[in-house]
Symmetry: C2
Subunit: 120 residues, 2 copies
């Protein structure tokens, strides 16, 4: 499928998709007319990229994962390791957000109770 349709399906802009390809995150074949020809399987892949990005992974690190993936099955252990490391990162983020929520709740409670600026 062409970039327009692929963009609609994945919710990622065409400009961004070309940018991702330029960065090496996605590899796309061309049709005889020289246009990008995305496969069905690419949909899940870029959605995965999107999730990695949404959880704070830099494009440079996503590219590293991508390179492993395109290199074939023998890179599985490395990819697994990467995912596990990323999970640790995600868990750390969860702890961080929980702490911030508590902190914020404290501030809100101060506002509510005193009704005056408490150095905020």
């Amino acid at each position: 499928m062409q970039i327009g349709e692929f963009s609609r399906i994945t919710g990622i802009g065409a400009y961004t998709l070309r940018y991702y390809e330029k960065k090496g995150l996605i590899r796309v074949e061309r049709d005889p007319g020289g246009r990008r020809d995305y496969r069905e399987a690419d949909v899940e892949w870029v959605k995965f990229i999107k999730r990695l990005k949404d959880t704070g992974m830099l494009l440079r690190d996503i590219k590293y994962y991508s390179d492993l993936r395109y290199a074939g099955d023998q890179t599985m252990p490395e990819r697994m390791e990467l995912l596990l490391r990323h999970r640790s990162f995600v868990e750390e983020q969860q702890r961080k957000w929980e702490e911030y929520r508590k902190n914020l709740d404290d501030k809100i409670e101060i506002y509510r109770a005193r009704g005056v600026s408490g150095g905020l």
Copy 2:
């Protein structure tokens, strides 16, 4: 206190502190020699700024909060509203990270079980 000490105490670089002032997030008096003269109370304030930033708030939005704060106590309701809105945002982030962690666990499980790339 001067910018160097303030920077050490808050853990925010002097370049960044000047940048924040330029952006309107912090207001700092000058001593007779024209140097920035931070107060004790500013420490808590910039640490709060830091937390807001760490939780994804844009400097532009932090500036808005800052403007309200410097405007005085009559802006309390607006500030309260802002904090509540930010808490909603934080809770949304928590849901996002939780969902993402689950998703990642699924992928990891696929890797572990099949030992083969499952479209990742």
